[in-house]
């Protein structure tokens, strides 16, 4: 069990190093669900994010996606993959495939939330997407990872409030 706890804190640190605090994800989950649940608090959202980050599959997807972003940022991938990731080609699609495992941890409504966030790009998602496009930073996988964590957490909140 110890190993997993380390993975989780390692993932949270990785997200922070790449520019995303848990608080930024809480903002998105809260905004997404407050229209459905009048009594929703940020604590409930943060707790849901915490449980999403407990899942092994989520941790693996974070580790893999951020690694590819960092390697592309440093020009370390082989061509043509280097250009595809560095340019965040909208038809690349591997970023979205990778995070399906995150979206799905609390069932299919995670997919719907993810699709919405991926199109609308609220808060930190839009900020990182823009930074990835305007600077040398590469956030091709990161914005999808954040969207998927938020989507899964929102699904968890929705499921729990329905009990």
């Amino acid at each position: 069990m110890k190993k997993e706890i380390n993975y989780k804190s390692h993932c949270i640190k990785l997200l922070e190093n790449r520019g995303c605090r848990i608080d930024d994800i809480t903002d998105i989950v809260f905004d997404l669900q407050k229209k459905y649940i009048a009594t929703l608090t940020r604590d409930v959202c943060e707790d849901a994010i915490d449980r999403v980050l407990d899942k092994r599959e989520v941790q693996y997807a974070i580790l893999t996606g951020i690694e590819l972003d960092i390697q592309a940022e440093n020009g370390k991938l082989s061509e043509p993959l280097q250009s595809l990731v560095a340019e965040d080609n909208p038809l690349f699609g591997i970023d979205e495939i990778l995070v399906l495992s995150i979206c799905n941890v609390y069932g299919t409504i995670g997919l719907t939330n993810f699709g919405y966030l991926d199109k609308v790009k609220p808060g930190i998602i839009g900020k990182l997407d823009k930074e990835g496009k305007d600077t040398h930073r590469c956030h091709t996988f990161l914005d999808d990872i954040i969207g998927a964590i938020a989507a899964a957490a929102a699904s968890s909140v929705a499921h729990n409030s329905a009990l």
Copy 2:
């Protein structure tokens, strides 16, 4: 081959009988993609929808989903399924699962588009969703089917314009 052609026209007729013309779907695809493709025409969108409806898996999902809607409308399903479908319970999720096969026919970006449409419910999707909630009509599966056809067609348009 003949059989399939019949399935396709049968599906188009089913959609019409339930309140959705191909033209209504074209509206959604055009609105979704015109911001990305300045030269987009409605003909291109209609053509993409036509190709989506050619696919066997799409036809099967349409046949199954609309059957469940009609049976629920007529009170012919067993409980508790009857209530779950008739009330369009947002956590039911089988409607979204069923149409994954439609979304995916042109790759993962179909999923993202579907998630967006499912949340925003533009045009005919919102109209049917409302009718399903306010009247005796049941459109639990239909609105997802339409969203998925539009999402897949939009993906096809995006792929082709990128060539």
Copy 3:
């Protein structure tokens, strides 16, 4: 919470009425995992199945799939869906789509196990598949439902033994 518990026992009763006891599913899970875990017991497998059946998405998929089987058996579906389901057409695919939500409850390895069971059809899966093909009974969805429950339970067993 009460409602869910009822759904679960209702699903178990439905499975039994259609010819599948939990014990039959335990056989499959045990056979699938005993080669990987020397100390595996049937109790561990049964417990994993029990937790799979606790999940709302699993219950919904069971309710929907078995309803379609029963209606097809009684000739109550509209054509051409009636023939597609009654004949268990191998390209129909909606049965496999429907149970994806079951396979995925414990992550992607559920998918792999499901694919294997769907091809090899061990124990009760093969028995019901044959009954569906040779008699008036229709088990088009049931065999996939059982395979998916077994696959998800096997994934849960694998994950737990790895901790």
Copy 4:
């Protein structure tokens, strides 16, 4: 269009460099489908593989997966990802997620075929899996990529023979 053709031949060369010829994949597809189609020829299988490799999403998954294998083989990934990929941890799951986009190009039956191949590991899949486990070579993603290409090609063969 030119770019895509280059991607395809680049992918075929990558597969060969890692130890898998198209002919090895043809063996698997032929073995998988010959029991269902008495008149099946290797040419039909090869043609189906060729069409799978035409798909952009397939090419992207091949590029990404093989890159991760090569980087792990050279010890170039960050920990803990380096160990997870190099050791081919059976619960890692990202290899299976990545190739879902390949499996799905011809519909859901691709998933079933993939699950079967991933368990049984016939021909080149088993050979590479063993090589990855016994030597310094890393084929964590490659064996899933090959299984997914074979599974998608087998689905295409099945669909076409049913017309």
